[in-house]
Symmetry: C2
Amino acid sequence: DLHNPYTPGSPITGFGVAKVLDSSHPDFKKGDLIWGITGWEQYSLLTATEPLFKINHTDVPLSYYTGILAYAGFYEICSPKKGEYVLVSAASGAVGQLVGQFAKLMGCYVVGSAGSKEKVDLLKNKLGFDDAFNYKEELDFNATLKRYFPEGIDIYFENVGGKMLDAVLLNMRVHGRIAVCGMISQYHVDQLEAVHYLTSIIYKRVHIEGFVVSDYFPLYCKFMDTLLPCIREGKIKYVEDIVEGLESGPAALIGLYSGQNVGKQVVVVDHD
Amino acid sequence: DLHNPYTPGSPITGFGVAKVLDSSHPDFKKGDLIWGITGWEQYSLLTATEPLFKINHTDVPLSYYTGILAYAGFYEICSPKKGEYVLVSAASGAVGQLVGQFAKLMGCYVVGSAGSKEKVDLLKNKLGFDDAFNYKEELDFNATLKRYFPEGIDIYFENVGGKMLDAVLLNMRVHGRIAVCGMISQYHVDQLEAVHYLTSIIYKRVHIEGFVVSDYFPLYCKFMDTLLPCIREGKIKYVEDIVEGLESGPAALIGLYSGQNVGKQVVVVDHD
């Protein structure tokens, strides 16, 4: 969590799902499932109930709540229109997989970038992206984007940053929008990668906006009303990458930053 | 003009003021002053009347129309609120001088950057900026901005790009806005300057948006209703840097890109 740095000796916190064993809060009773900021631990004492949300639907993958970032970023920041050209980076990840499918539901043309052949196949064959490419096999992202978007890009859902963002700036269309959800390529580098083509922001009148999930919690009900029926009817697929046991957590977290996960990375601490 | 590159042998075009000598268009009659895309020439045949605007007020500097960029960028893109911290680069230029004064009228705290002591004095003593600095005397823009904005920057009106933008990104406040009007430092360089701190867009949830004047022509009447009374009542000063004669045009244009002008650079081709 960027805003609450870790205190040594305390449990690591993060977005998670937990079962209520006991509660003195009127909104949460024993047996309820909740999601929100929980601990990486078998038993937690949660004293801050804001934001904790009760989970009322257990017939869908329990980590679907991650999708509120996809929902808010795509619909609220990108203002998508039918027929627009959309690029999603880290497209098979927790957020990217939903953005691409939302874009298809809107009637957009969607290309995803990901870091393995397996992920590219997933995007094209299971998640319904129009096309996808393995960025690790591309030498020149500018040429890559010109190949996949000969007409240019209307919407870029940004999860990676760095060189990809630079190439995207060169290939944006007039009045394009870039929703900046993450820049995972830039989080653990000694030196942040240089971006050069920001003058495109003027020439193409580009709108770039960063966002974090907590800004959009008020949309949560609307988001569930949209997503849950789509998952149930099979119109949207939702892929989780599940590892078992708290001891698997560190490797899963490290794997996330090198793109080992396929879909939403979930660590199951306990099944009870 | 970015969208209509120059054709050798034809007159150079640009935004200008002209007097109608003859017209077959119902909206423009002999003797009218108009502004819009005109030629760098004593006599022009204007066949495209969109966009040409009739000038109804000649008691204010005739180049005030430039201010629609300031007006649109500041009010529409920056959504300013009273008490916010505002930085304007190229602040004594055609657009910057108005942005700073609009910001003061809104009750913001405004600092301008400019390239000479003379301009800094103008900003502080004539144009009412809260503070101003000569960027040519600053070695480390990050330190400079921390000095002028210990609380951070809510709004940056961007006219220069490059290193200044990078330092601004480091010093934005949460939900800050950057209106990208220009990046004059980047127009005539062999290699575009690198920007590194784009991850701030996420951490601070920054909104960055580029714009061009033609997108905002519908605001023209509203803009004049705001600006003209302010100029007449002396609440807003408007500085023009006037050179005489078409032969002065090339030097004035080159001077613009090295910051020779103080206020709006105007070339008077003819007084008739």
